[in-house]
Structures are given as C-alpha cells and as structure tokens.
Symmetry: C2
Subunit: 359 residues, 2 copies
C-alpha cells in the first residue's frame, strides 16, 4: 500500500530518503561486494561508518572535547541500571519525577543506593509539568531527569539549574530535537528508536572526567570508562543500527542541522497546540503551557466514544498509531524529527473537521 | 562489484536470499505502508515477526516445554556478566577453558563469586582440544563452557557429562550448526552475528526452573526471569535484528533444518580438513582431531611470508576476511551455516594450487 503517516511513539517513522538509501545499498555496501550487515566490526568499511556517525553527532550537537560519545545496547532501561551502578555507590541521588520513565529509573537506582525525589511534575493525580524548581540534597551524587516524558507529553525546553551537581538526562525521545548545550550535562543517554534511528542502539554522551570516576567493582562491559577507552568496540556493536543512525544524522545535516530540526519541530508544535488552545472545550491537554512536549502531544476528547471514533477515522485516512498510552488513554501525537510538518498539518486539519462535526 | 566470498568470523556472511527479501520489503513491510524498522514493538505486525522467530527456533532445535527462548541485547559479553549475576551468588562455578572467550567469561564471573577452572584445552602454550574430562567441584553452582572457540578453532561435537550440575554454554558461534539436545542445558546463550543473523541481538534458551531460581538483588532488566515473564518485550527489543534472525531461521527450515545444516557443515569441514590432513607439512592445524571446529578452521602455512601472500592472493580472487585473529596469526576460515559449500570448495581448490606452487 502507499506510505501511511505513522505517529508511532517508537520505534517511529524514519525519513523516507534514509530508508531508500538503506534499501539501495542493502546487498552491496558501497561496492564492497557484501552487505553492511555482513561486514566485520573490525574492518575498514564499518570503521568508516562508525567514525562518521561519531563525527556527525559531535558536529550537530557541538559536543565539546570534554565529552565522549558511546554507542551502547540495552536501551534507556539498561541505562537506568548502569548509571547508579557506576555513580551511586550506596549514596544519595536526586531524581525528578515526570511519570513512568522517571519512576523506572528511580526503582532501578534503589539497588545501588538511595535515590530520592527532588521534584515532581505531578499535581493531584496527573502529571502536568516539567518542574524547574528542585529540592536538591547537598550530598547527591547526581541529579537525574527525563528531558521528554513520552507517555505524559511533558518536555523540558530549558533545564533547571543544578549548580555543580552532575546532571544526568534520559533524552531517549528528544535528543537532537534542537540545539543543546552539552556542557551542562555530566551524562546524557538516549535509546535511538524515537528521534535518531531504529531500535537496538543507545547513544551516550558523557563528560570524560565524570565517567573516569565511575565504580569498578563490576564487569567492564557495564563501565562507561571501558566503553570509552574502546571507542564502543570492546565487543561487537549493533553495527546496522549505528549505520542507520549515521544516515539519520546525515539527513539532519542536510535539513539544517539542530537549528533546522528546531524550526521543523516548533512549527509542528504550533500547528497542533494552536488548534488545541483554540478549542480547549473539545481538545483537553492536561499539560501546562511551557511544559507541553513538542515530541509527543497528548490530549483527550469529550468522551471515550469520540476518542475511539477519532482513532478509527484517522486510521482509515492513513494516519496511524495515534492511540494514547494504555496508562493514560486518549490520543497521543508523536512527531519526532522525521515527522514531516505537512503530515502534522494534515492531522490538524482532520482534527478541526472532526471537532466541527462533533463539538 | 559482484558478491565476494566472505569468510568473516562475525558479523558474517548471510544467505543472499535473506538479504534480497529484506531489501524488497525494506520500505513497505508486508503492505503495512511503513518499514519494519518503523513498526512499534507493541503492534501486531511486529508481534507476528517476534512470535514466528520464537516458534521457528523452538521447532528447529526441538526445544522442550521446560525451556524458554529470550531475545536480549549486549552480546555474549553481556551474558558473561548476567549469568554469574543471577546464579553465582558468591559461590563457586566450574568454567572450562578453551581460550580467549572462556577467559573473558571467567574474569567477569569473579565479580560475583569464585569461578574455577574445571578443565582446559591448553597443552604447552597452545589450545589444542575441547576437553571432555572435567574436574568438577561438588559445590559448583553451574558448569560453563564455550561450545565453539572462534579464535582457537576448537569446537565441541559431543558435550562432557556434568551429572546433575546446571550446564551453561556460550554457543555464540555455533548454535544451530546441527541438531542439539537442549534438555541437557540449563542455559544457552548466543550472539546472533555469526551463525544466526546480524549483530545486535543475543538469543538465550533457558530452563524455566533454573532461571526461576536466579537472584533478585539487582535491576529486573538483568534478570532472566523478568525477561521471560515479559516475552522479551519488557522494553523495546532490537526489532530489526530479531526480524532478520527470523528470516535466517526460515532459510534454515527451507534448507533441511538443523539436520540439513549439519550435512552442509560436515561437508565443508571434510573438504577443508581433508586437504589439511593430506598435506600436514604445508597446512599446520594446531587442533587435535575430534576437537577441530567445523565453524572456524585455523591453520598456519610454512612461513609468515607465505601466509601474507596467501591472504593477498585469496583477496584478489574475491575470498576475503581469511586472516587469523591477531592473537594467534595464520589463516582462519569461518564457515558458518550461511557459507555455501561450493565456496569452501573454491577456497580448498585455491589452497591446493597454492600448496603445489609453494610446497
């Protein structure tokens, strides 16, 4: 069938041009007589892919020399464990609560010390904001936050000031949605499958002197230091996933870089939230202005019956995966970097017509 | 260029028909209007892929109901840590030494208890066999061995008797090379990138009552039990890698199943070792008869100069990645399931001509 508009929260839509390139070189990678999938991670062909992905990410985010880039496996859920394993050491860490993902990170940290909540976006029974005022503890080993909460539709635009505490951020769903001052972070991690590529690789950007201090009382494969020393080649990396992230990075470069992404994403956000704000009696977004996610917009319609009808009709119109997470219901519009603004415009037009009919 | 014959030790050659299928459906997966790479792991399209891969692996290896199949990340190196983390608990475990990979597994286990060597394939300064006689300790929590040592070219054909001790095997480079009595193993793990598919996914076959006993004093993401309970969908799995393993499994089924693979592999081994044994003065294989790997044959030529010349000439003839591991030198012929017997025959013909010229 023709290409659908895929609002999936992840794995998510990819640039069509990237998929076409992958298809075209799938059997014979750049004249090497074999697929990239068959290339040794120790060979020069893969090495070029690996190094280009590193260099392009560094360039796109202006990553300073103080920071290193790692390509890991296991997703954000793996990082929920690796971070406290390396840096908690029985001590205290400050976590910021913006919903399910922060809670999972918090629960995982309990095995290695005493995480505490330094802030919450919850008000009553709902998460409504990305908290900027935090109650930091003097002895916290680090402060952990989730830059974008995919389920709750809450995103940090600016980040809270944590003084000289190492700031650790799960940016799985919005890394590279706009320019970022990487120097403010001790460690950033991001599963690739939302904003950066396919499932199967986790990007880490870490301050070198921070990971150098990490604990050593567990196997090297869990130590950021060791992975950095080996340029992520200590064992076989997920070569194809890294190759695809590399292609997505080239696509970002060709589309204005991080600033270009921000312009695209702001435009999508304005289109969607513009309609929501114009008709708050029909489209109810629980999230406060200023904390609304440009990556995942969540809203409710007047009744669950209308929500079911909306999901059925959008699907019939070729706009899929708009159902909200099972824990919150309603509608969720995921519109990561690769989502074309014109597709969001199409959805917004549909939403407005739906409102006129049923509002 | 035309397709080369790729003897890479991993990531390794894949069936051309599998690559062609992947290419043909890369943009539009089975009429869904999007790529498999863009499908949510919670959707029905991916679910069908996931379930088929599970079912096909179970069928191909006649996996009994006592055992479960898991799809993990992190490679064998991750498993080197996960196994002792779950099952060692400060106690003793028996490890069998067949070279670099067993040593890495052993070193990793030290963080969780007291691994000891229960057997070694080393004689003098070389690894020469897969030891069948083991010195097991009464209190070992498990026995760990590497079924095929890719660097040393040593493989278990039959396995040693470990009585009622749980047997754990790293089968990263030979799972499914022939039929297997899975019931003899408490846990099998295998990075996919040699015999089963691309890099980025690790298969685990585990006895349910064994993993049920695993420790719980660390995050759930490292607990086999938890992954089993969630059918490997506790977080986003490496969907594309699992999809490709699924395609390779279909290819195995279409080529006679595990018995068909054994026939192919035995044929390749006989061709190669037949020539080596006929001319032991020219082709020196350090490994004893009975322990020679059918997956990775290693041998030396009379001089390092001849080895360099051999590698250059084979490469020029379109046969690549034949260089032995940097730690042992010489020549290594990796010929996993997907390597066509006719390609090994071509190499053997070349080897014999080379011998006639230089012997």
């Amino acid at each position: 069938m023709s290409r659908v508009i895929n609002f999936s929260p992840g794995p998510a839509t990819l640039p069509l041009s990237v998929l076409e390139e992958v298809r075209d070189e799938l059997i014979d990678f750049r004249g090497s007589g074999m697929s990239l999938l068959e290339h040794s991670h120790r060979g020069k062909d893969y090495e070029a892919v690996h190094n280009a992905a590193n260099a392009d990410l560094r360039e796109l985010l202006s990553i300073p020399d103080t920071h290193t880039v790692l390509w890991m496996q296991g997703g954000a859920t793996g990082q929920f464990a690796f971070v406290p394993m390396s840096f908690l050491g029985g001590g205290v860490a400050d976590y910021v609560n913006t919903g399910s993902w922060s809670k999972k990170a918090f629960e995982s940290a309990k095995f290695y010390g005493e995480p505490r909540w330094a802030g919450t976006g919850k008000e009553g029974d709902k998460f409504v904001r990305a908290p900027m005022t935090l109650d930091l503890s003097a002895d916290a080993k680090y402060v952990h936050l989730t830059s974008n909460a995919t389920i709750m539709g809450i995103q940090y635009d600016a980040f809270p000031d944590v003084g000289d505490k190492p700031l650790v951020a799960d940016m799985s769903s919005d890394l590279l949605w706009k320019p970022l001052d990487v120097s403010k972070f001790a460690l950033i991690y991001a599963g690739a499958q939302k904003n950066l590529g396919p499932a199967g690789v986790t990007l880490v950007i870490a301050r070198k002197d921070f990971i150098e201090q990490g604990a050593k009382d567990f196997p090297e494969i869990f130590q950021y230091r060791y992975i950095a020393e080996n340029d992520s080649l200590q064992n076989t990396p997920p070569t194809f996933a890294i190759y695809m992230v590399g292609k997505v990075l080239k696509w970002v470069k060709a589309n204005g870089g991080a600033a270009g992404m921000e312009a695209r994403n702001r435009k999508k956000g304005e289109l969607l939230y513009g309609l929501i704000d114009a008709h708050p009696e029909f489209f109810r977004c629980p999230v406060e202005q200023g904390s609304r996610s440009v990556m995942n917009a969540v809203f409710r319609l007047p009744t669950e019956e209308l929500e079911a009808q909306f999901l059925a009709e959008t699907k019939a119109a070729g706009m899929v995966n708009l159902k909200g997470h099972r824990s919150v219901g309603g509608v969720r519009v995921s519109m990561y970097n690769a989502m074309e603004p014109e597709n969001v415009a199409k959805l917004v037009e549909f939403m407005d017509a739906f409102r006129k009919k049923h509002g």
